[in-house]
């Protein structure tokens, strides 16, 4: 057993304990006190993948994605005083065009930050102008996921301002991996619910999990989850932005497959408010809007695929 798997196991146990506390919110200072800086410095992969997967599995809430992004590019912003505004649903953009109005979200206790960081782009250049939170229209919204503690932020165009953001692409790549792992935690929890149900639920005198029509749906969830885990592994080797976007995309696909199939095999029980399934569906739908990989992947088609650039996966 390697040092890193020992650290991972210990971290996982801590994460479960933190994310299952009553309100499931792990505040920024708690993550800092946990030794985030050292964990991230020692093994960013273990720190991000373990915490994010448990956060997903436990329906936890934190600013882990921002911490991961800042670990990748420390000069981006200061999470203790500033929170990032995430773009949602702007045609796959992860930034706000600098002449367009702002409509995005701040995650978890980021709403308490004094300043909001608004990633804006003019052409290929990304800048991170700051605005006082009090100057923006920011209000908590329940929306699809009442447990996610998101704050919707709206404002008129903020324009450019400030120097080009150093390391933005790399930060998005690592942030995408954090979201991918969180989605995979969500998928894992959904699959576990579905497996438990189809083993116990009997119809026609047999457990419904013995029907191949049911089995094959859950097998497909497992295949897509394994596929996403495999791409995440490759992405952590090279940390190339295209492979990270692929990992984020594969995790999104696994979530959509899980949402479809787990709901179906959980039947009417899984369609009640009382059942936990919809809480995972709601969380995944929200996560799947953050750091949309679509544009990066389209860009990859003209570069990484054509060049057949490779992460050497045989030597690790």
């Amino acid at each position: 057993v390697s040092d890193s798997s020992f650290v991972a196991d210990a971290l996982r146990a801590t994460a479960v304990e933190l994310f299952t506390r009553n309100d499931r919110l792990v505040r920024l200072e708690t993550l800092i006190d946990l030794g985030w800086a050292e964990l991230a410095r020692d093994d960013l992969r273990v720190a991000v993948s373990v915490l994010a997967e448990e956060q997903g599995r436990q329906l936890g809430v934190s600013r882990l994605v921002e911490l991961a992004m800042c670990a990748a590019a420390p000069s981006l912003f200061d999470p203790a005083a500033e929170a990032l505004v995430f773009s949602i649903g702007s045609g796959g953009l992860v930034t706000f065009p600098n002449n367009a109005s702002i409509d995005g979200v701040v995650l978890a206790d980021g709403s308490e930050a004094a300043r909001f960081v608004i990633p804006t782009s003019a052409g290929a250049t990304v800048r991170l102008p700051r605005r006082a939170a009090s100057d923006l229209d920011a209000a908590p919204v329940t929306g699809i996921d009442p447990e996610a503690r998101i704050t919707r932020v709206r404002a008129a165009a903020v324009g450019g301002g400030g120097a080009p953001a150093e390391g933005w692409d790399h930060a998005v790549a690592i942030g995408s991996l954090a979201i991918a792992h969180e989605l995979l935690g969500v998928v894992d929890a959904m699959l576990e619910l579905a497996i438990g149900h189809v083993r116990e639920r009997h119809q026609f005198g047999v457990p419904i999990g013995s029907f191949q029509a049911v089995q094959h749906r859950l097998a497909d969830v497992r295949v897509d989850a394994s596929a996403a885990h495999a791409v995440c592994t490759t992405a952590w080797i090279e940390r190339d932005r295209y492979i990270c976007a692929a990992a984020r995309s594969a995790a999104g696909r696994a979530f959509e497959t899980a949402t479809r199939h787990c709901q179906q095999v959980l039947g009417a029980m899984g369609s009640t408010w009382e059942h936990r399934l919809h809480r995972y569906q709601r969380r995944g739908i929200l996560l799947n809007l953050l750091l949309d990989p679509a544009l990066t992947l389209r860009e990859a088609l003209s570069t990484v695929v054509i060049d057949q650039r490779r992460v050497e996966v045989l030597e690790t």
Binding site: Q212, H216, D220, I306, L314
Partner: protein, 384 residues
């Protein structure tokens, strides 16, 4: 006594191969990705020439034991060589696909056959095929009935095999035969010469138009006792070991080809509408997953791990990746696909039809999904 240098790393071997291929590009031009004949029998000729040269130069000797002429070293080195071939614009010779399913099982279960026969197969002097499926034994492989009866100096085989890829160009088949009672405990694997008395090979033309496979008939065909691969009645274990390599290394070979296909497609069609681009991107992500997953499988098999039912994931990934890539290609080049008259268009169509079989050959994905459900996820057993 030959002295063999210490094994290179996969990366070092890639560089050596890349340089050698660059210097011999013209000589093996007909084995190029874009020079494939629509006829499998014709396509295979330059591929075998390349296969021989790769062996003689030592590239494909890495990862095979000294007993069959190999240089030793990890099987991961083989994976590196295959991918590099594709990256440098060559086809992976068709016979190497069968080598990667049969070879590891021969090495693991029969030092005798490894020493006596595997070398010429690896060098491309002769082609081998699998003899697994039968008319009444497809997904339910353990119900196979082709029988081998013990004789004074070996076995006499009678029965039929079906869907043997490359059967029409093969010299031998590694086949599963019934030597004992019904069920998986009465099965043995034999290496059988296809020019032996009582053996007949009939080609089967696939929907692709190519003679992809053959049916093999045996009537009291004699097989020497030293042609048993693994224990007598222990053929099921050999087949299960073999199937792990078929999932892992075969999937790895195919990801290399599928990556190249996507690259060629993008180069051919130019800028894409967003929804087309998103489809291609999704296929690329799937192929990336196949690559990542099969790389891990190959690495684990190379160090002797027994992977069990988890390898079925690779097979489902392969099938879905094949379908997605080829469907993208058909969607983006509909006119070439429907009307094109060149050899390349004919191969394009043949490849699409062949890709449809990826969810059938080597164990239909319905079987894989059931294995994943029952043996990975722990669901209750379905009625059989």
């Amino acid at each position: 006594v030959t002295t063999v240098a210490p094994a290179p790393s996969p990366g070092e071997l890639r560089v050596q191969l890349h340089e050698w291929l660059a210097a011999h590009r013209e000589k093996f031009a007909d084995a190029g990705r874009h020079a494939e004949s629509p006829s499998l029998e014709e396509a295979i000729v330059p591929e075998l020439a390349l296969q021989r040269a790769l062996w003689d130069e030592g590239f494909t000797r890495w990862g095979w034991p000294a007993e069959c002429g190999g240089n030793g070293g990890s099987a991961v080195l083989r994976a590196a060589v295959y991918e590099q071939l594709v990256l440098d614009g060559f086809r992976i010779p068709h016979p190497m696909l069968t080598i990667e399913t049969l070879g590891p099982a021969v090495v693991a279960f029969s030092p005798e056959v490894t020493a006596s026969h595997l070398g010429p197969c690896l060098r491309g002097d002769e082609v081998w095929c699998q003899g697994f499926s039968e008319p009444e034994a497809g997904s339910d492989l353990a119900s196979l009935r082709c029988r081998a009866t013990a004789t004074d100096n070996g076995w006499a085989v009678s029965g039929q095999k079906l869907w043997s890829s490359l059967g029409t160009v093969s010299a031998r088949t590694a086949m599963l035969v019934r030597t004992g009672d019904a069920g998986h405990r009465g099965i043995t694997m034999l290496l059988v010469d296809l020019d032996a008395p009582g053996c007949e090979v009939r080609p089967i033309r696939a929907s692709s138009g190519r003679t992809e496979f053959a049916e093999l008939f045996f009537d009291d065909t004699p097989v020497a006792a030293d042609r048993v691969i693994g224990p007598v009645h222990g053929g099921w274990g050999v087949a299960m070991y073999l199937l792990q390599w078929e999932r892992g290394m075969f999937g790895w070979l195919r990801q290399a080809a599928l990556h190249a296909r996507l690259a060629d497609l993008l180069a051919a069609v130019g800028p894409l509408a967003d929804d087309d681009a998103d489809r291609v991107a999704e296929a690329w992500v799937r192929v990336s997953a196949l690559r990542a997953s099969t790389a891990r499988t190959v690495q684990r098999l190379a160090v002797g791990e027994n992977l069990g039912p988890e390898v079925s994931v690779d097979k489902v990934l392969l099938a879905t990746a094949e379908h997605e890539v080829h469907d993208c290609e058909r969607r983006l080049r509909p006119v070439d696909f429907a009307l094109g008259g060149s050899d390349a268009d004919e191969v394009f169509r043949a490849d699409w039809f062949y890709a449809r079989m990826a969810s059938i050959y080597g164990g239909a994905i319905e079987i894989q999904r059931t294995l994943i459900a029952e043996r990975v996820l722990g669901l209750p057993r379905s009625p059989r």
